[in-house]
């Protein structure tokens, strides 16, 4: 069994120029990182910082220009094909008009492994039921997929991501558009899955709360890795470097404290998102009532 779930060695990647006058866009430069098996890594960085590119590289959807990546001791593409990687995409693009139940939606990727001549795959349905039980959705298994709320749909998609019993789960911006209470529930769910399945989890986000609530280690990414350590080592100065803003100067009155965020279980005490911290001008004064209504 490999020691590291993911190992990146001096990985660089640039998107090719679109037009004759354009230059290639360097998305990642000289990234080296090792994610131990069974750990929880949070990748924090601004929009355009290379987080989605990192996800695509780990999933084997693109190849690095230089350097190498191994996922669970093999190539990312091989790990993906063997069902070793579970993935929750940033935007859920499923056709919700589809006339299928939640169970059928969760079982779909599993059913791909069934024999071509087998009309119904009961093993896939059983595995789907187990995954739905893990995310607390057993009672909704027969409900049409289009009848779920946003939060329920996200849980169903997590159930689908873990249905193949992957050993690595990649979550891409999982809490975008989710209120503080929802983020708290999401963190609880991920921690539960980590405890029960012993799975390696990589959460990619621009949101400090999403990262701090459920990560053993944090990697700050802005084209290159600026920090890779326990969340307690994260300081406003590092955030400022990654997000290219003086975070303390902008949000000092809100008492941003990554240390506190890492230990805090109360969603109403969570700091603002790093996108807010990056000084987009949408300063959100920390008002629990307002967040509760969000």
């Amino acid at each position: 069994m490999p020691e590291h779930a993911v190992q990146l060695d001096r990985v660089s990647f640039a998107y090719p120029a679109r037009g004759l006058r354009d230059q290639p866009v360097q998305a990642l430069r000289d990234i080296s990182m090792a994610v131990p098996v069974g750990s929880r890594l949070g990748v924090l960085g601004p929009n355009g910082g290379g987080k989605s590119t990192l996800v695509k590289l780990i999933l084997g959807l693109i190849e690095p220009d230089t350097g190498s990546i191994t996922v669970l001791g093999t190539t990312p593409a091989d790990a993906r094909r063997r069902g070793l990687i579970g993935y929750l995409p940033q935007r859920l693009t499923a056709e919700l008009d589809f006339p299928i139940s939640v169970r059928q939606a969760v079982a779909m990727p599993l059913a791909l492994r069934a024999g071509r001549f087998r009309l119904r795959d009961r093993a896939a349905e059983t595995a789907a039921d187990e995954s739905l039980a893990l995310v607390g959705m057993t009672d909704l298994a027969n409900r049409p997929i289009g009848a779920l709320s946003g939060g329920q749909l996200q849980r169903a998609m997590i159930a689908r991501a873990i249905a193949t019993r992957p050993r690595l789960l990649v979550l891409d911006e999982p809490t975008v558009g989710v209120d503080a209470a929802g983020q708290h529930r999401f963190a609880d769910l991920i921690n539960k899955l980590h405890a029960e399945l012993g799975i390696t989890i990589i959460t990619v986000s621009h949101d400090l709360r999403a990262i701090a609530a459920g990560s053993d280690r944090v990697a700050c990414l802005h084209r290159s890795v600026h920090f890779h350590d326990a969340p307690s080592g994260l300081t406003p100065a590092i955030l400022a470097e990654v997000f290219a803003h003086d975070v303390q100067a902008v949000f000092g009155h809100l008492h941003i404290d990554a240390h506190a965020a890492a230990d805090c279980d109360d969603p109403t005490h969570a700091p603002p998102t790093t996108e807010q911290a990056a000084g987009s001008g949408c300063c959100n004064h920390h008002d629990p009532k307002k967040e509760g209504n969000a």
Binding site: G83, T93, A94, F98, P99, Q104, M108, A111, L112, R160
Partner: protein, 284 residues
């Protein structure tokens, strides 16, 4: 002459129509759920380019061995058009609907020019006139020969087999394209597979309803079935039954009322959708 005697002329056409009902009925729910109706429309119109090309190459007739060569050329042209749409949509950052618009109009225009040139050449060489362009546009059920029916049976068997073999990847792709790559599937390959199957089905449907109305067979049975059931497998079965029933009813009505068969089939399928829509409530 009784109605049954009149229907006797249609036997190769009726066989082809039932085969088209099978393929159209099976593909139709996917076309509706994945919102590919315009893609179907584009590929069916592009088939006209293939008809023009076949005519210029000397296979304009719908009789005998010519009809087999014609069907194969139109199939190849339609699949090529579908792949070109896919290429334009993926490689040049254009929207799929724009790519379809470009390929559809180019193929239609090319088909019309080539058909006219072939017609002129046929008249001058004394080879006799080509089938009317109206038949190509709106279907020529009466003109289908036994050889054409055999070719259709072969293409139908091939499409049905491929559809069965790729059913799970196709359904996952139609439900959530984003889930394909993490599940180890090649998304572009699945999309291309469906496009090729759709192009093959269009070529078959064109014989019954013409390039203008072929989309009806690929859209309406699925749209009607999905109003009547909210389960996926029954939707495919129901769609096939609806396709067969409406095409059969359309043929009978066209003989009885002396209406053009392709248009009557399309109107029958529209009527079935309206009945289903009224029965289930318009807003659903």
């Amino acid at each position: 002459m009784t109605l049954l005697d009149q229907l006797g002329f249609f036997i190769p056409g009726i066989i082809v129509a039932m085969l088209v009902a099978l393929i159209g009925g099976l593909l139709s729910p996917l076309v509706v759920l994945k919102r590919l109706a315009f893609v179907g429309q584009g590929v069916s119109h592009a088939a006209f380019g293939g008809v023009g090309l076949a005519a210029v190459l000397g296979f304009g007739s719908t009789r005998g061995i010519d009809s087999v060569a014609r069907t194969l050329i139109v199939t190849a042209f339609s699949i090529g058009s579908g792949l070109l749409v896919s290429h334009l949509a993926q490689r040049t950052q254009r929207r799929t609907d724009t790519a379809i618009g470009i390929v559809m109009t180019a193929s239609m225009a090319l088909g019309f020019v080539l058909y006219r040139l072939a017609g002129k050449h046929a008249r001058e060489s004394g080879a006799g006139p080509l089938p009317s362009i109206e038949g190509v546009l709106f279907g020529e059920l009466l003109a289908i020969s036994p050889a054409g029916a055999w070719t259709t049976a072969g293409v139908t068997a091939l499409i049905a087999a491929l559809l069965f073999w790729f059913r799970r990847p196709l359904v996952l792709w139609a439900f959530d394209e984003q889930a394909c790559a993490p599940a180890g599937l090649n998304t572009a390959r699945i999309a291309t597979t469906l496009l090729v199957l759709l192009a093959g089905a269009v070529v078959l449907a064109v014989q019954v309803a013409g390039v203008v109305l072929a989309t009806a067979i690929l859209v309406l049975p699925g749209a009607t079935a999905l109003r009547l059931t909210r389960s996926l497998v029954p939707a495919f079965a129901l769609s096939t039954l609806i396709a067969a029933a409406t095409i059969a009813a359309g043929i009978v009505l066209s003989v009885w009322l002396d209406w053009p068969p392709g248009a009557t089939i399309a109107l029958t399928q529209c009527a079935a959708w309206v009945v289903a829509a009224v029965a289930t409530g318009w807003k659903r």
